[in-house]
């Protein structure tokens, strides 16, 4: 077995040193009643493993072999080659959490740089070393807001927040005695400000709004922040398409106390939805309540700049059940990739990626809106994703299936996010789907998509 370095002779020598006659002797404390060898196939060689997994991979349509317009929280942005190739270096790949700073300065400095990028993008002063992904980042942000409020019980969430994020919040909140109030969207597709104001009360600890929201519509952070402020609650800004941060007003400028969400767009492949890259940033006065790993700058014994994990007294390994969160790991390797990619793009590149994505989406949106039978239900401004309604009688999921067979991944049907039995056969929600564009899309494939949509209509 190529991952087991000991020879038979070495194993015998080791057993002799231990004073055991066989390896089985070392398992004496494991009762025989619980022992059983697994029923698994024979070992596969490396060539066979590649054949097996290559076969499975080939059954999945992907962005390299289709015209690709899927978003919904995971976007097909370019990932610079070096941001992935650097991950192969053993020093990054095969190290762990930098508990021992003297032999982990590489990882620690990279996280410190990552934290800085997140602060610059969000307009906030403090960011952590990353979280699992967007939905659990929102949970952590809300729990943080709840701690800051010292006893308040209500979270007000915009219905424009990604439905899987909201479902995650419900799962986490189920047993914590916390209440969730959802605020509907207005006719333009943005959170209804009046409904938002009405939902916020003196028991509210957080007001959370996503922008661009799940339907692609850009929200004004100031609306959520104003509602939060009147009640003394925390304003939580959710970002699921991080490329937008280079073009849209950052949460910090919009009065947000906490920003959270998903950074996958900035350097992480889509990976079938994981691993992704959650983030959380906040105002400096809240920094001791931030969950997750944090890297700080300090000095070594000779007075040189050095970095280390810090404020670990917030964390589970010290505080146990009183910790700010149960999380242990961050998304180390993805945060590294994102640091590399963000650094390469930098000030101008991140902006250009955002502008191109926006311009392409605007082109596509205009062309689809001009396609007979199709309409855009929401009038609000969008960044790079928008909602489309197919003609009456056309089920979006079936339509998108047919296009997928023609190598066009045209969008995501809303019916995927709702209990499909609850939707009447020709309800508008059954006909609606999300379409996203990025800098990866060409005019040619967008024209191809529009032509295909008209054909299907015909």
């Amino acid at each position: 077995m190529k991952f087991l370095p000991n020879s038979d002779a070495e194993r015998r020598d080791m057993l002799a040193a231990i004073g055991a006659s066989s390896i089985e002797d070392l398992f004496a404390t494991v009762p025989s009643a619980v022992r059983q060898a697994p029923d698994l196939p024979d070992p596969l060689s490396e060539i066979e493993i590649r054949r097996f997994l290559g076969g499975l991979a080939s059954k999945n349509a992907n962005a390299r072999d289709t015209a690709f317009f899927l978003g919904g929280g995971v976007y097909n942005h370019y990932v610079s080659a070096i941001a992935d190739q650097m991950l192969y270096r053993a020093e990054w790949l095969t190290a762990y959490t930098p508990y021992q700073p003297e032999v982990s300065q590489g990882t620690l400095q990279s996280i410190f740089e990552f934290q800085t990028h997140v602060c610059l993008l969000t307009g906030l002063e403090v960011a952590n070393a990353s979280l699992y992904e967007g939905a659990s980042a929102l949970v952590e942000a809300l729990l943080m807001a709840e701690r800051l409020s010292k006893g308040r019980k209500r979270a007000v969430l915009s219905a424009g927040i990604h439905p899987e994020y909201r479902e995650t919040v419900r799962s986490y909140f189920a047993n914590l005695g916390l209440e969730i109030v959802e605020v509907p969207l207005g006719a333009d597709g943005a959170t209804d400000p009046r409904a938002l104001g009405a939902a916020v009360d003196a028991t509210t600890f957080a007001v959370a709004v996503q922008s661009p929201n799940f339907y692609g519509v850009i929200e004004d952070w100031a609306v959520g922040s104003a509602a939060a402020k009147t009640a003394g609650a925390a304003s939580v800004a959710v970002v699921a398409e991080a490329a937008s941060l280079a073009m849209l007003k950052p949460p910090g400028e919009g009065g947000a106390d906490i920003a959270c969400g998903e950074l996958q767009s900035l350097g992480v492949p889509m990976h079938l939805g994981g691993p992704l890259l959650g983030f959380l940033a906040c105002r400096i006065e809240h920094q001791r309540q931030i969950p997750g790993r944090l890297v700080g700058e300090t000095l070594d014994a000779e007075g040189r700049r050095a970095f280390c994990l810090t404020l670990s007294t917030r964390e589970q390994h010290i505080r146990r059940e009183k910790a700010t969160s149960n999380i242990c790991t961050n998304q180390g390797l993805m945060a590294l990739a994102s640091n590399i990619h963000m650094s390469l793009l930098g000030k101008k590149g991140m902006r250009e990626v955002a502008q191109q994505s926006h311009a392409k989406a605007e082109y596509l949106k205009g062309r689809i809106a001009a396609t007979p039978g199709y309409r855009l239900p929401f009038s609000g401004p969008t960044f790079n994703e928008f909602l489309v309604e197919a003609p009456p009688g056309v089920d979006a999921a079936a339509l998108l299936d047919r296009l997928a067979a023609r190598k066009i991944l045209a969008g995501i049907p809303l019916s995927r996010f709702f209990d499909s039995r609850a939707l009447p056969a020709d309800s508008a929600d059954r006909r609606r789907f999300l379409v996203a564009a990025t800098e990866m899309n060409t005019r040619g494939e967008m024209d191809h998509l529009v032509a295909a949509l008209s054909e299907v209509r015909a």
Binding site: A37, E91, T94, G273, Q316
Partner: protein, 498 residues
């Protein structure tokens, strides 16, 4: 742009070659007008259809830097890290084993890395089949009925597991109030139980460091929802009374939760399902060798007995009779979802590749891990104190008791090990061993490496007696000297400022 090279000042202090250090921050390398990317010309009309009040200006402080400088910067930074590929990384409870490289390439196939979680199921059959197969294999290895792959890491797996227990109890009438956790447990256990809405009652370990049956029997009331047990425990000791433990918990209507962080000790040899375990999380980045990546991504699948299957996070992956696969979100008793999409799919690919390489010989993993840990134990137990001397499985936990006589602590020993070219063991827990040195070599270390480690530890024991000041000042040969962690927490600097 020079890299300082530390001179070898004292050969006796420098077991390793010199290292580069003092790499500036990427922001400090930035220079106006430099470019590190290229994009195609825009092939549609430029458009900015966003009201000005919703837009931002330039991102002040962001970088301008070339690819050349990025390559150098991150290569230099990488060299400041210690990693498994450089040598033994015996960080106890973290299972720092070799990461097979084919797995890295497989996870990057476009059909996985460039595929989208919300593509139609008709063109995602390979992904669903992979998830289904991995689930079936993990169910077989654990001897349990169903598995969710959704949790992002072990801690989220713990939460998922306890939430399922809670839902099952609620369904049968009463959620109960308390979760029992041994004092030897990892800190995530009580934190996860807390976030599932339970109070935590700590169980005091017996003189062997294991569960005391009488203590358990007394604590196991009908208010107790579950016992969270790490098997083998964080001392590396197998609960040899596991069947009695399960009986006591079950007799009172509770659930037995197994923290599978230490599954590497018995994978392929024994099955938690046969032990009476009802629910168990695994760490794909430990037992199944997906890379630790400097702190993640992890992946924390949870296996459950049939009676907990209705409560699994949704959606589940199912197979139709015609052999096609689909996602089932129509699970009314589900605890819901704990994150977006299917989970850390990239880790599923790697774990499946790893398991496929061993197949029905996967028990060799556990046998190798246990042999190696016992070899280290045999090589060091005359010089380092073993507070609990019950037989070790995959790791051995010494303490610094003999070395504190010379004023040297486990942290000092850890730092000194760096000078010998090893990553230190875990020193922060288990909390029941003061001054712990928790050593987990894993099965992917050979006798040669183990002998070198044993030699280093023996040398350090001698140094503790003969040159304690030198040990306390360690490390001497690392890129930076001992780092002021207290200072970092006092005066917080968490970012670079323009």
């Amino acid at each position: 742009m020079s890299v300082e090279i530390e001179e070898k000042t004292d050969a006796a202090l420098n077991a390793r070659r010199p290292e580069p250090r003092a790499e500036p921050l990427v922001f400090e390398r930035s220079g106006e007008g430099k470019v590190g990317y290229s994009l195609p010309p825009l092939d549609v009309p430029p458009a900015v259809a966003i009201p000005e009040g919703l837009r931002r200006g330039e991102i002040a402080g962001e970088t301008e830097i070339t690819e050349v400088e990025i390559a150098r910067h991150f290569t230099r930074l990488s060299r400041l890290n210690f990693s498994i590929d450089q040598g033994l990384y015996p960080l106890g409870s973290c299972t720092m084993k070799h990461n097979p490289r084919t797995n890295e390439e497989m996870a990057r196939l476009p059909g996985f890395a460039a595929a989208h979680p919300l593509a139609p199921e008709s063109v995602s059959q390979g992904a669903l089949e992979l998830a289904w197969k991995l689930e079936r294999i993990l169910a077989e290895l654990t001897g349990l009925a169903r598995v969710t792959l959704q949790p992002s890491a072990g801690a989220q797996g713990e939460l998922a597991g306890i939430l399922m227990v809670r839902k099952a109890l609620e369904k049968s009438g009463r959620a109960r109030t308390t979760v029992l956790i041994p004092d030897s447990a990892h800190g995530t256990n009580p934190a996860s139980a807390h976030f599932a809405g339970y109070k935590v009652r700590e169980l005091k370990s017996n003189a062997r460091g294991t569960i005391d049956l009488a203590t358990l029997e007394a604590a196991m009331t009908e208010d107790v929802a579950a016992l969270m047990l790490t098997v083998p425990n964080t001392l590396g000791v197998f609960e040899d009374r596991i069947l009695d433990i399960a009986r006591i918990v079950h007799e009172k209507g509770g659930y037995l939760y197994c923290d599978g962080a230490n599954f590497n000790a018995f994978v392929g040899v024994a099955k938690p399902g046969l032990m009476g375990v009802d629910v168990m999380h695994m760490n794909l980045h430990k037992t199944f060798s997906t890379p630790h990546g400097g702190g993640g991504p992890g992946s924390g699948p949870v296996a459950v007995a049939e009676r907990l299957a209705p409560f699994l996070p949704r959606p589940t992956v199912e197979r139709r009779e015609d052999g096609t696969y689909y996602l089932d979100a129509d699970r009314p008793d589900s605890i819901g979802r704990l994150r977006t999409f299917l989970g850390n799919f990239g880790m599923f690919v790697r774990a499946l590749a790893y398991i496929a390489a061993y197949g029905n010989r996967i028990g060799e993993v556990a046998r190798g891990a246990v042999l190696n840990a016992n070899y280290i134990r045999a090589g060091l137990s005359d010089l380092y104190h073993l507070k609990y001397d019950a037989p070790s499985m995959h790791e051995v936990v010494f303490s610094d008791k003999k070395q504190t006589e010379h004023g040297v602590s486990n942290m000092d020993i850890a730092k000194r090990l760096m000078d010998y070219g090893f990553h230190p063991p875990t020193v922060s827990f288990p909390l029941i061993v003061h001054g712990a040195l928790m050593i987990e070599p894993t099965e992917t270390e050979g006798k040669v490496g183990l002998d070198a480690f044993i030699h280093a530890m023996r040398e350090i024991a001698r140094e503790c007696a003969e040159a304690p000041d030198m040990v306390r000042a360690a490390p001497h040969s690392t890129p930076v000297k001992r780092v002021d962690e207290v200072g970092a927490a006092k005066k917080l600097t968490l970012r670079w400022r323009p």
